[in-house]
Amino acid sequence: MTESSNHEMNNEVPWHVRMIPFFDRYGILIVIVVMCLVLWAMQPEVFLSWRNISNIFKQTAANGMLSIGMFLVILTAGIDLSVGSVLALGMMTLAVSNASGVPWPIVLCLSPFMGMLAGFVNGVGITKLRMPHPFIMTLGMLFMARGLANLISGGVPYSGLPDPVRFLGSAQIYLGEFDGTRYNLPIVFLFTIFVYLVFWILLEHTVFGRRVYAIGGNPEAARVSGINVDQTLIIVYTICGFMAGVAGLIMAGRTNSGFPNAGQGMELEAIAAVIIGGASFFGGRGQVLGIFGGVLIMGLIRNGLNLNDVSTFWQQILIGGIIVLAVFIDVLRRDWGTRS
């Protein structure tokens, strides 16, 4: 312990190993920039137009909310399969209560609240009922929340929401008119930035956040360090559910309705964004900025293919390929980074 370990970083380290920290930090940014350049080259007049860029944010906002909540869960080496259904549950609770005359300030809070409740149940189930894996509990919640969403709505969509409820999902700030084009800034864009900023502070700069990383890194270490692992996990799943509820609120605002099929398969999109964004299924790894990148990459793929009139089947193939590649790059990174 008294000898210096400087000799470990000698000049014989191959270049690709020395590049690892660089790619850890900026790899996803490079991918995004290159994707944008390719899309811009293919649709020069359309892709970088203000309206298209704000569309991308409108289209990715719900997935952005689900993904950041999912990231928190995956950091603890867990998984939440229920977020898509919880989104629908929040959305339908909101829409049905609105239709039955509940005042809008309450309607507004109902979706995040139902999400929180579902997430709390997930957390308690995983820790206190000692489910062998979060997969089981959240798979159960996937069905329960979907069933509940259908039950309270009778399986039919409800439409027509008051403007304050739609605000988050559909309102825009009018910036002005230049060269005959009207520039609007979607509120949901600002909101997404705000949420990611909050999560960045939460994970990097609060004791809670560091403990979430510690639990993902080594739950035993966290436990013997006096961290209340169960309590932390319950909070993590509650936050994840809350974000699913927020996604439900955004989607309700965007579509001016609640439809019980909402969010089907979105849990997988969120997991994909988190994995593309550099998180590890084994927990403890990944950064908020990376997740933002993962969400953006998914949105860019969808947008790019739509702009080029490509079938959505291609979107599925590409996202699948990118997930595999993203994880493969991570495997290579570890191989290079492992000391022999």
Partner: protein, 267 residues
């Protein structure tokens, strides 16, 4: 058994008649243990003799099924490792219990993170700067050299990790450090450094309980050695009054003809 050079009236940490049952299995039966201030106590025994269970009882991870624990002469009850730690009893686990994905400083302060209040005390944030500085000072103080306290623990060698784990155990006014096989997973060249650190703890007045299979470790760092056999006290002695072969005999559960027996087994 009071150390010969001790002026203290009572042991710092004491277990009296501790038993521990796991269902029908008896892991410990009426075990007594005394740890005096500033001594290093070696605990030996074969696999399954109950050493690790006893350490987990002492560090608050397991409540004893029977018997009592005493600290500084007062009876104490531990509901979690936190309670033991509040009294200054720290455990260094065999698997080290470090989070490999986090840096050295964060591991040292895991569970007791330095905080700073912002927005008029409304929000309490993790104080990275203070944590890094404290960790650096602490490691310097212990003469543990690392490239940087911001290095991730998974990038460290086994000996460096053990050093971090020990540094972590004494970061907060520890009075007792319990170590479970601290040298088992180390490269030979790193063993000596870790043993020197343990001697260093003793010099700071910290009492140490160490479980080890390695007679070299026991005879290098310990003042006293006690043996468990089938979950019960078997024998104990001041180190200078015993020999390796006698201690090996204890581990195998014999006090008679130890020399011959030990020589038969350990050639």
């Amino acid at each position: 058994m009071r150390p010969q050079n001790s002026n203290d009236d009572s042991p710092l940490l004491e277990a009296r008649g501790v038993s521990k049952y796991f269902g029908a299995v008896t892991a410990l039966r009426d075990v007594d243990l005394q740890l005096w201030p500033g001594e290093v106590l070696g605990v030996v025994g074969d696999n399954g003799a109950g050493k690790s269970t006893l350490m987990k009882v002492l560090s608050g991870l397991y409540p004893p099924s029977k018997g009592s624990l005493h600290f500084d002469g007062n009876e104490v009850q531990f509901h979690s490792p936190r309670d033991a730690r509040d009294l200054g009893i720290e455990m260094v686990y065999q698997d080290l219990a470090l989070a490999g994905n986090m840096n050295i400083a964060e591991n040292i302060y895991l569970g007791r993170e330095p905080k700073r209040k912002v927005l008029g005390g409304l929000i309490s944030l993790f104080d990275h700067k203070k944590g890094l500085q404290m960790a650096k000072d602490h490691l310097d103080n212990l003469k543990i050299q690392v490239k940087s306290v911001e290095q991730k623990v998974e990038e460290l060698s086994g000996g460096q990790r053990q050093a971090v784990a020990i540094a972590r155990s004494i970061a907060f006014q520890a009075r007792v450090v319990i170590m479970d096989e601290p040298t088992a997973a180390l490269a030979i060249k790193e063993v000596g450094k870790v043993l020197d650190m343990i001697v260093g703890l003793k010099d700071r007045g910290i009492s140490v309980v160490i479980i080890s299979h390695r007679m070299d470790d026991i005879f290098y760092v310990c003042d006293r050695v006690m043996a468990l056999y089938h979950g019960a006290n078997f024998s104990e002695s001041h180190l200078k009054d015993t020999s390796r072969s006698e201690v090996i005999g204890w581990i195998m559960g014999t006090k008679e003809n130890v020399r011959e027996l030990a020589h038969d087994r350990v050639k």
